[in-house]
Amino acid sequence: MKAFRGEPSIFASARPEAKRAELEVKNLTLKFGGITALNKIDLEVHTGELVAIIGPNGAGKTSLLNCITGYYKPQEGQILFNGENITRFHTHHLTEIGIGRTYQNIELFPGMTVLSNMLLARHVHCHYNVGKASVFSKSVRNEEVRHREILEELIDFLEMQSLRKQLVGALPYGMRKRVELGRALALEPKLLVLDEPFAGMTLEEKEDMVRFLMELNESWNQTMILVEHDMSVVMSISERIAVLDFGVKLAEGTPDFVQSHPQVIKAYLGDTSTID
């Protein structure tokens, strides 16, 4: 009876303020010894945008994501999120202020069920303390019910009803990626950071994933940054694309602009003269 329930509460009830995600990366430089992974990168992401970062292997895409999500600490520059300087924040602190992510090489707990994996992400929204939890008081119970409701809405949205109680380790690769997206969404993030969400998927799984991301972005105004290799997908879903090469931002703009940018073509194909 979806038609009667209206929009899932996880997406519908959020106040505009709770969805606000203004990210500003200023002059960011990251070095590993003698190698400059990121060189004076500037990037802005505004609320409701879907921004893609592309580039050849080793361009620094994942390094940039890792800076934003607190895994790497850059030597220079600043990262501002909703006006707050988050450059030196710890990862757990970042999830609390609303930055959720997925990983290139799936970081789920294979021995746990899909539900348990997703439930884990709800810890940032837990308000009860050990005392109350140990007697499982009414308020704790209500809160747990609320967490489960939100997970069920996500399971419904991601069409994983038949997987709920299955162990993640037993799922095919494409499904695990979906579970990971579910876990990131269970954080109710303001900014969702996706590292190669389509890698290693079959065509059908990609189509499903595109559908989910588009729906999240367009219907529920979810702000997203994604890194991706599959050009056809990136070009079709992103509003804005930033191109990195050897740690330098080559270009930034609409898919059409980026596609016809001579330096981008050179970075990808090595030659400019014979490109149609």
Partner: protein, 649 residues
């Protein structure tokens, strides 16, 4: 929720009899008054929980749909297409349409766009209900040819944001709002419209599967269905509050008769699984009291169980073999009406406790009071298999035109080969050419806008089924097969392809088979291997394979299937034995028009499509290069190039 041992809360005969004079929505309104807010009418699993609707909710939503449709402009006797999956909205939409005296026409959600357009044009749909974005897209792709469709109502809003500006579309939620507004303005309107309906009105039209030629629309009245529902409620072990689970397509008569007709008349609860993928689990949670489904369901379940057992450890296999042997011995004695010796009775009780019951529980079949198979002939071995495991599985027989199933095996005398005896107030007779005729109030009204076809099969109240059959000594009906399908070899030996096909399909490795041999010297067959089971078999033997095409042409697989066919040949009389077979390089598929949407083979179409292969089986060739076509759901056509081997059994 095992209801096996609870008392059956039947409606009294008087109520049942009186209900025949009402329409479905009128019966719903009476049930809502009688059973009210306390009894559950509908359950649906959503967000991981079984959500319930009582009888008052049921009529309320139906009312809002009906009034919403009035606001949009639906008139009496117009046709409305329903392209819906198994969810409560289907019931509300269908009954809403019917309470205005309009006709509901359910269509298969699995049909491709072209097929769907053909159907919708055939009955000039005034409105369409579509399940989700996928179904809406199919209809929109042929919008230009659907000028008679005034509005399209979609149920699931997921992914529909980009369609919001299209004035042709309206959501189900909006429709309900329209209905609610009109209800406030004119509170008596619904009741007035509802009671204008007559039981003799056409309630719905069902597209026949059309194994031959163009599909026809079978018009069925409220009375046809109510009468059939009454017969079942009088004879089957079901009552108020019992559970029916809706898993067959809504466009098939089974869920129309049971899910709508019988659940309404008998006050049963209708249960909807969460998604088709979770159906098995949801099925187990509900533990339905009764099930009627296709022979394919039972065939697949049987082969799944047997394959799993073959993979199990030694002890489990031994226990299973013991249980199966004991069960089969008892079943055979029962069907020969002999007494079962005390020792066997004890062993069977034991086998039941330690093997059969846990097994049936595992597959969700423990709660059944009655289980029925219909739609297509089934191998007696499948029935023996389940009965040996303590499941009261019975074969039954009926057609869309006869208003559903009218022949059932009675409880105390189940004969495996037969389809039992007729329900009350149903007459069955056999013509000289062995055609089965049936007469009852449940017989359909006629084919939609096709009086010639109606006159051909409906004469003096008798419906000519087109099936050949005969009565045995106990008065049980045996169905041989479709009359026009009965073939004769060159020597004039008559045989029914169905008869051989169902026996082949009992093998867990054979999914589908098609028999040839009309006017030929010997009989041949196409065989579709079961990709899952044969695939597992191959993996166990370390045989590498890639696709279905590749697997089907592996020499080891050929040997496996040849062995299975030789086993079947042993059960058949000499002239009916198979001589040559081909393992088809692709699965027969409804999208390629080779099967009907209910999964029956369209023999003539397959014959034309694969003429070269059939001819090759009647020549000296041992292999044949072929180029085949495969149509994908999105309309693209791919080609397969391979060499097919012709195997001598």
């Amino acid at each position: 929720m095992n209801t096996k041992n609870l008392k059956i809360d039947r409606l009294d005969d008087e109520t049942l009899e009186s209900q025949v004079q009402y329409t479905f929505p009128q019966i719903l309104s009476r049930q809502a008054d009688r059973l009210g807010p306390d009894k559950i009418a509908i359950r649906e699993k959503a967000y991981g929980i079984w959500q319930t609707f009582n009888w008052r909710d049921y009529i309320r939503y139906t009312k809002f749909v009906a009034l919403g449709l009035i606001s949009l402009g639906l008139k009496r006797e117009e046709n409305v297409g329903l392209i819906l999956d198994n969810h409560p909205e289907w019931l509300f939409a269908e009954l809403g349409v019917q309470s205005l005296g309009a006709v509901a026409v359910p269509l298969f959600t699995s049909a491709v766009a072209k097929e769907q357009m053909f159907g919708l044009n055939r009955f000039k749909a005034a409105y369409i209900f579509a399940q989700d974005q996928e179904q809406v897209d199919k209809v929109l792709s042929c919008r230009d040819e659907l000028s008679h469709v005034r509005r399209l109502i979609y149920i699931d809003p997921t992914g529909m944001r980009t369609y919001r500006d299209n004035p042709w579309l309206i959501s189900f939620a909006q429709l309900l709002e329209l209905g609610e507004e009109l209800d406030k303005e004119q509170p008596d309107l619904f009741v007035k419209e509802l009671w204008e309906g007559k039981a003799s009105d056409v309630a719905l039209m069902i597209m026949t599967s059309g194994t031959t030629g163009e599909p026809k629309l079978v018009m069925l009245s409220h009375e046809n269905f109510n009468e059939m529902a009454r017969k079942w409620l009088e004879t089957a072990p079901i009552g108020i509050g019992d559970n029916w689970i809706s898993i067959t397509p809504t466009a098939w008569i089974v869920d129309q008769l049971w899910g709508v007709g019988i659940t309404l008349s008998g006050g049963l609860a209708m249960n909807f699984p969460e998604t088709s993928e979770t159906a098995v689990e949801d099925f187990r949670e509900i533990g339905p009291s009764v099930i009627v489904t296709s022979s394919r369901f039972w065939e697949e379940l049987a082969s799944k169980i047997r394959v799993k057992i073959a993979d199990a450890g030694f002890i489990k296999r031994a226990l299973y073999d013991f249980s199966q042997n004991t069960g089969l011995q008892a079943v055979d004695l029962e069907s020969e009406k002999k007494a079962i010796p005390a020792k066997l009775r004890f062993l069977r009780w034991l086998a039941n406790r330690i093997v059969s019951k846990p097994l049936m529980d595992r597959v969700g079949c423990l709660g059944f009071r009655g289980a029925y198979t219909g739609g297509h002939p089934i191998s007696p071995d499948v029935i023996r298999f389940f009965r040996a495991n303590g499941l009261n599985l019975k074969q039954c027989y009926g057609l869309t035109e006869s208003g559903g199933i009218f022949q059932v095996q009675p409880d105390n005398e189940v004969k495996l080969e037969t389809v039992g005896i007729a329900l009350p107030r149903t007459e069955v007779k056999i013509m000289e050419d062995q055609e089965v005729l049936v007469s009852s109030k449940s017989n359909f009204v006629g084919y939609y806008e096709n009086p010639e076809a109606t006159a051909e099969v409906l004469k003096d109240g008798w419906f000519y089924t087109g099936d050949a059959g005969y009565f045995d000594d106990d008065g049980h009906l045996l169905i041989i097969g479709r009359k026009q399908d009965i073939m004769r070899t060159k020597e004039g030996e008559a045989f029914s392809p169905d008869f051989i096909e169902t026996r082949l399909k009992f093998s867990p490795y054979i999914k589908e088979s098609v028999i040839w041999g009309e006017g030929q010297e010997y009989i041949t067959a196409f065989i579709n291997i079961d990709f899952g089971n044969v695939g597992n078999w191959a993996e166990d033997r370390k045989i590498p394979y890639t696709t279905y095409t590749d697997l089907s042409q592996q020499p080891a697989v050929e040997e496996l299937i040849r062995g299975e066919v030789q086993e079947v040949n042993k059960q058949l009389p000499k002239p009916m034995q198979l001589v040559k077979i081909i393992l088809l390089y692709k699965l027969l598929d409804a999208d390629d028009e080779e099967l009907t949407r209910t999964g029956k083979v369209r023999r003539m179409f397959v014959f034309k499509q694969y003429k070269d292969l059939i001819d090759a089986m009647y020549s000296d060739k041992t292999e044949l290069p072929v180029t085949g076509q495969v149509r994908y759901r999105d309309g693209n056509v791919g080609t397969i190039e391979t060499t097919v081997k012709i195997l001598t059994v």
